[in-house]
């Protein structure tokens, strides 16, 4: 894989990572009942 291809792929990966983080931050905001998110407390013993 030559250097230019690498550059392009690397840039793509970075953008993907950024998008992922942004989308995730959005999703958490409107997480209502039913979706598997948020912190948990353990059940009793």
């Amino acid at each position: 894989m030559n250097a230019t291809t690498q550059q392009i792929l690397a840039a793509v990966a970075v953008i993907a990572a950024l998008l992922y983080l942004i989308l995730r931050a959005r999703k958490k905001k409107d997480c209502g009942g039913g979706c598997d998110c948020g912190p948990k407390k353990p059940q009793g013993k």
Binding site: M1, Q7, L9, A17, L18, G34, D36, K40, G44, K45
Partner: protein
């Protein structure tokens, strides 16, 4: 959330804490468990599936262990609301399994009294009958069944005894509701009936709801009713009438239930051998473990053991993981030509993922240990012993163990705060946990101490390191006290701690829970950390310098991260740092140890490590524009102090975000810790100057 297949029956399993409820839940559902959440609260919704005696699918809902259905905080409301059927997304259960400790019926039946008021079929799982038998208690099962009006299944869940009978009881074609309940004084009964008519709940449970509302203290009542002023007025009026009749609205139902419990116990329990003054095995153990002297020694020994396990025992798997990471990186380097993608994969991805996986051994060990302590009953004693110190800053004794664990790594420590029921307390503990110097700071301390005092002996160096740890501890307590007085204000929560009898931990359950936590950590934090690592890599590699074949230090200086280092130089100059250190600080955000390798990159040293002589010589010889050395002893001290207090760990941020369910808290944490670190480093550096040091 749609169900995959129709469910024949929905059952809730509830009971006091420490009754082996989880053991029964796990035994019935095995691996068919799912963890979700209830809207608006931080309580876990744990459901599982099992098959009844005739193969029908049943859903089991694990309710948090509690002493009563009475609600005094939003988190406690969950059990009550689920059983009243008022939680959206969670249908009212068709039956309740009430798990009781057979040796403790005098108190555990209290909750059963409340369950019977609900009008839902109840099945009593009388657990730990083996212990009761050993203590000389003879329980007349038939009499108990008649008094309660519900099936009673004797069990020893940890050995799997009684499970089949429990399943059979749950699989009966129709389940009956009991008509037995605690008898209330006539006046109270009248008020309850009147109030029930005004409530819009499930027909079967309005009576229970009315009883709970009537006896809820004023400071919670308004919050519960959410502005329904008519209902609020009605309840107040009812309470006044009760007071006029000479009844205490809060005490009356409690007394009535306990009176009923005493009657039931009197008819069903016969003691043989042990009289009520007899000391049990637990009592004897406690005489040592909570003794003024021996108790302390045992406690310190226990904590030291846990510590050693996390620090030392974890080192081997951690070294393997590092070796694996390096091997993988070499593999990629061998098979891919130099270029951006290779750098991204090696430094960003492998480095990033490696930084996640490396925490796994410590998390596993810590949670295993915590599980042992919790199950055996010792955890309550630890809280009992440490409470005095904790309550001085407004915390509960339970905050101690998570804080202690943070000395190894704040991540499992923060995850361990789940045992703290009070939300404010839990958040304060989470906020200050990273101030307890974690093991990742050690390489930084080591390099700085080597630069600071190269000629000194081991003891002085150890002394300085100890000072760093102490600074962290003091800061943690001070900030905790501060937070509890200001932003996370709340009364010091009640202690009200039960010291359960000691019992042998159920290892299988512990391992299962430990594994659960680890998987959640990997899946949740891992994805976020990976993404953040990639972004950080980009910050340290783009934009690229225009020279061909740039050296690592050139790439670094030219990148956004490098420019950030330059940009913050004015802000960190008063602390005695230059822009190269600035870059180190920025890069450390991925993981504190990265400071060392970043310094290496800046000084163009391949693969720098703390023990590396070249790095140290280079750093020592580094000079500023005016010829004075950069890494003066004072600067080194200032850097160390900064690292003690600064929040510089992506992984921790990810975990805090997850545990607090918002970005607000981790961002605040970064903010206050950075400010604290800056101020402290400033004081050290400038103060040192004033005192004549350099």
């Amino acid at each position: 959330m749609s169900e995959p297949a129709p469910v024949f029956r929905r059952i809730a399993i509830a009971g006091n804490p420490n009754t082996g409820k989880s053991t029964i839940f796990n035994a019935l559902t095995g691996l068919r468990q799912k963890v979700g959440n209830y809207p608006g609260v931080t309580v876990e919704k744990k459901t599982g599936r099992f098959f009844g005696s005739h193969g029908e699918a049943m859903e089991l809902l694990d309710l948090p262990g509690s002493y009563s259905l009475q609600v005094r905080s939003p988190d406690e409301a969950v059990s009550r609301d689920v059983l009243l059927g008022s939680v959206p997304g969670t249908p009212r259960p068709d039956a309740i399994i009430a798990v009781l400790d057979a040796s403790n019926l005098d108190r555990h039946l209290y909750l059963v009294a409340q369950f019977l008021e609900l009008g839902i079929p109840v099945i009593v799982a009388l657990n730990m009958v083996d212990v009761a038998e050993k203590r000389g208690l003879v329980i007349d099962l038939l009499a108990l069944k008649n008094s309660l009006g519900v099936p009673v299944i004797p069990m020893v869940a940890s050995r799997g005894q009684g499970l089949i009978e429990l399943k059979q009881a749950l699989s009966r074609a129709t389940l009956q509701t009991s008509d037995q309940r605690a008898q209330l004084p006539i006046v109270l009964e009248r008020e309850v009936a009147a109030l029930s008519r005004s409530l819009k709940g499930h027909a079967g449970s309005v009576r229970a709801e009315a009883m709970l509302l009537l006896s809820l203290e004023d400071d919670r009542l308004a919050a519960e009713l959410k502005g329904d002023t008519a209902l609020l007025a009605e309840i107040h009026a009812a309470r006044e009438r009760l007071k006029l009749s000479g009844l205490d609205p809060i005490a009356a139902p409690v007394d009535a239930r306990y009176a009923w419990v005493s009657e039931v116990c009197a008819s069903c329990i016969h003691r043989q051998g042990e009289d009520s003054h007899g000391l049990t095995f637990s009592d004897h153990v406690d005489q040592i473990l909570t003794h003024k002297l021996w108790g302390w020694l045992a406690f310190i020994g226990m904590m030291a053991l846990m510590f050693v396990c996390i620090f030392v025992v974890a080192k081997w798997p951690m070294d393997w993981i590092t070796a694996g990471k390096d091997w993988l990186a070499d593999l990629v380097r061998a098979h891919m030509g130099a270029g951006d993608l290779r750098s991204l994969i090696v430094d960003g991805v492998i480095g990033g993922v490696g930084n996640v996986v490396i925490f796994l051994p410590q998390i596993l060990i810590l949670f295993f240990f915590l599980g042992l302590l919790e199950d055996s009953g010792y955890m309550a004693r630890a809280a009992f012993i440490m409470d005095r110190m904790m309550s001085r800053v407004g915390l509960h004794g339970k905050s101690f163990v998570p804080l202690l664990s943070s000395f190894a790594c704040a991540i499992p420590g923060i995850m361990a705060t789940r045992t703290i029921e009070n939300r404010n307390d839990r958040f304060v503990t989470i906020l200050v946990a990273p101030l307890m110097s974690c093991s990742a700071r050690l390489p930084v301390y080591a390099v700085m101490i080597a630069l600071l005092m190269p000629a000194s002996n081991v003891w002085s160096k150890a002394g300085v390191m100890l000072c760093m740890y102490l600074i962290g501890i003091v800061a943690a307590f001070v900030m905790a006290g501060l937070f509890k007085k200001t932003i996370l204000r709340g009364e010091t929560p009640m202690l009200l701690l039960e010291l359960p009898p000691y019992r042998a931990p159920v290892v299988r359950g512990i391992v299962q829970r430990m594994w659960e936590r680890a998987v959640i950590f990997i899946r949740r934090a891992g994805t976020v950390i990976l993404a953040l690592s990639i972004v950080l890599w980009a910050l340290l590699h783009y934009p690229k310098p225009t020279t061909p074949e740039p050296t690592p230090s050139e790439i670094l200086s030219h990148s956004i991260g490098g420019r950030m280092g330059h940009a913050i130089e004015p802000a960190i100059a008063p602390l005695g740092y230059d822009w190269k250190i600035g870059i180190g600080l920025v890069a450390s955000f991925a993981a504190r140890e990265v400071f060392v390798s970043t310094m290496g990159q800046i000084y163009d040293i391949e693969d720098a490590k703390a023990e590396n002589e070249d790095l140290r010589t280079q750093m020592r010889d580094e000079r500023r524009a005016d010829g004075t050395p950069v890494f003066t002893p004072l600067t080194c001290l200032s850097i160390m102090v900064f690292y003690v207090l600064a929040m510089q760990c992506l992984s921790t941020v990810a975990i805090v975000r997850r545990e607090t369910n918002s970005w607000r808290w981790p961002l605040f944490q970064i903010g206050y810790m950075t400010a604290l670190a800056w101020i402290a480093a400033f004081v050290v550096y400038q103060g040192g100057h004033l005192l004549g040091f350099r």
